[in-house]
Symmetry: C2
Subunit: 116 residues, 2 copies
């Protein structure tokens, strides 16, 4: 089950994440790579998707994009809403079935790892 990968977008330069996407497609043999981002990183996720599509991967389907909202607890104990986005990049012939799911809470630990 190595055909789907997730890349969490943070505050590093876009090319860092572009490399992660290329690795997933080329070395790990993924058919689909999901870019997940929250808040300000959403703009960066779009940059990453566009760089991949225009410069490195010409055989991608039109990306499937989902947006959603997550409730975060702030340090003062209050709650605030944060927008999230998932961009699914798929190889030609392996279209995503609009199945980008809202980001799970427990994905957080994983994110730390990928951004490290």
């Amino acid at each position: 089950m190595n055909d789907e990968s997730i890349v969490y977008i943070g505050s590093k330069p876009p090319m860092t994440y572009v490399m992660a996407v290329l690795t997933a497609f080329n070395k790990m043999g993924a058919d689909r790579v999901s870019l997940k981002a929250r808040g300000q990183a959403i703009s960066s996720a779009v940059d990453v998707a566009e760089i991949c599509r225009n410069r490195f991967l010409s055989d991608l389907e039109r990306p499937v994009i989902e947006i959603s909202t997550e409730e975060l607890e702030s340090e003062q104990g209050g709650k605030r809403n944060v927008s999230t986005m998932t961009i699914v990049l798929s190889k030609a012939g392996k279209p995503a079935a609009a199945e980008a799911k809202p980001r799970a809470k427990k994905a957080k630990a994983e994110e730390k790892k990928e951004e490290a």
Copy 2:
């Protein structure tokens, strides 16, 4: 032909644009409102869409989202690429036909007006 509106997202607080969207739907009778944004404003556009959907307009279709790249000339004469995004919000029963077009060059003048 008043059934489609465009709101250009800039650097103002999201609620400014939420109001513009609500006005387009409720006062101007639009069936569809497109949010257009470039660069860092993309995150803000997602916030605007999510606030509209979750707080004010419960009868919207799942938004259709397109991303693209535009080439801008910098002041030094060089060129740089900027990511763009269009989010189409549609009333229930009036789905957007994935027809979000890349933002036209001449849209710029219009944008100034709407952001003013």
